[in-house]
Amino acid sequence: MTLALFLQHLANALALGSLYALIAIGYTMVYGILRLINFAHGDVFMLGAYVAFYGAAMFLLPWWGTFLIAIVFTAALGVGLERVAYRPLRDSPRISVMISAIGASFLVENVAVVLFGGRPKGVTVPDVMNVKLQLGQVSLMSVSVVIPVFTFIILAALLWIVGRTKTGMAMRAVATDLDAARLQAIDVNRIISFTFGSGSLLAAFGGILWSYKYPQLNPLMGVMPGLKCFIAAVVGGIGNIQGAVLGGFLLGFVELMVIAFLPTLTGYRDAFAFVLLIVVLLVKPSGLLGSRQGEKV
């Protein structure tokens, strides 16, 4: 393997990893607060991309305008989803909540199929994202540079919000112990809605940027990425925002570098993510940056 080849593979891995990282943050925020795998996260990601697409196609909005309506829409959707599918089950056994999550995910996917049709749609990528960059022997698209930059900005912003604002403190309180937080006069429902809204909004960002990198929309486009990003979040330490970013990059890295060195395994690519997950869960169940949480009897 030549150096140029290795660097290209590395660049690909970083580009993909940063996308995974961005979406994983949304997963981890929701899980941290509610201990719930929001299976519908991948579908919110898909809807964000679709809303942006229709915004541009039907209302002729400029690309940054589509971002705005997409985030408003998905934030509302996330809040709505929480109220309808998860809040009523807050005191129920975990299995019910998970089934509700799966049901919600399937519902969103199938509604999307009915509304948008099953055929893929091509996305018009804004010019600024479509520039071909050449760094020595390595080829990269400008969108692949925008995404990591964006991810780190979001990371910094979130860390600031969670670490330094009152809302952030309330989020950490609810994540640690919901009932105790209630006793501290924190409006738990509002905090949870806020978290869901922010997580979904991030999913929308992820979805739109994804559609700029892979400009094809179809109602099931969020299924695999959603699953892989959840794995990324778990690997990094669920509930931990830096962990999600780390997990995302790690997953992208593993997925692409294994193929780089072992091209005969290209057909097994999807399995790598799951193998990584299982290995991490067996060796360090709380994830790379997660902390062990004992179970109270």
Binding site: G117, R119, Y214, Q216, N218, T266, G267, R269
Partner: protein, 380 residues
Amino acid sequence: MKRTAAVLLALAALAGCTKSQKQPTTVKLGVFEPMTGANAAGGAMEVEGIKLANALYPTVKVGGQEYKIELVVADNKSDKVEAANAAQRLVDQDKVNVVLGSWGSSLSMAAGPIVKGKQIPAIALSATNPLVTKGNDYYFRVCFIDPFQGTVMANYAFKEVKAKKAVIIREVSNDYSVGLAKFFSDSFKKLTGDENAILGELNYNTNDQDFTAQLTTLKSMKPDVIFAPGNYTESALLMKQARELGITAPFLGGDTWETPELIDVGKQSVEGAVFSTFFATEVPITETSKQFLDAYRKQYNKEPAAVTALGFDGYLVARAAIEKAQSLEGAKIRDALVQTANFPGAAGIISFDANRDATKSAVIKVVKDGKFTFLTTVQP
């Protein structure tokens, strides 16, 4: 308990509302296609063709009486279990006389034993896996099969592109892609006389969106040509990423590329992509082609897909066989179908060989200036 009973009754009432009145002088053609699920796009295109043919030729004369041809659509949901149910329903409950479909060889194979058991002939429209008709006297197909298509592209690669080394990148979870790749590989090796003419075979899975790893490896192999017989859903993204990585070798593919979405998604990157298909709109092969093109353009105001033409042909072939058999009995229609020879279809002249596959010419097309442009025809 009372509420659930009420709900059940309401649903039963709804079911009752939608049953159509049975007409005494009707011939029923079962349309066995995926209308939902992963293959919905292909299914929808074939159904377009079938419905168009039905609009142009809505009746058939049997025994001196004019029979109306009714289409009964059963969605197999791109799922094998559902496919068996749908096929069973068509032959048992709806009592169709002929089955048309399905898009997707694995779905057709699920229907295979069912149509055979009930002695109802079935015509696959674009399924290219040889196993569909192998060993099943009641399954026919109006398209060529993968062994032929693979050699067509191998010939093109060797003679036109003058390629000596190729790399294959295929959709490993798609039987069509795997089959076509193998036939291309065998042909190409024979043509070049070089056992190592195929530099490598890379895989990806259905619904994959990122191919950068495979393509980077491919770039390092420096092939003269790339054969990528996957579905359009992945191929457009594949070609875009290839161009973004600086790969300049031409891309060759199969008939699944001919959809407007390929160009819609791939835009500039699919320029110069060459593929084999059943049918070309610029070169009407027969009178039926012209008729089909005119009717389609009038109704939909766009160019038809190749499988739509095949759907059109499947309907016509079935209708012709019913007329020839002068009977509505499945076994007799089947016997008439076997004798179909030199039938002028929209997508070429159809003759069934011993395996009930159609020997037809293939058309090679290229994407030029954002449009599918006809290149040449290849005879079997």
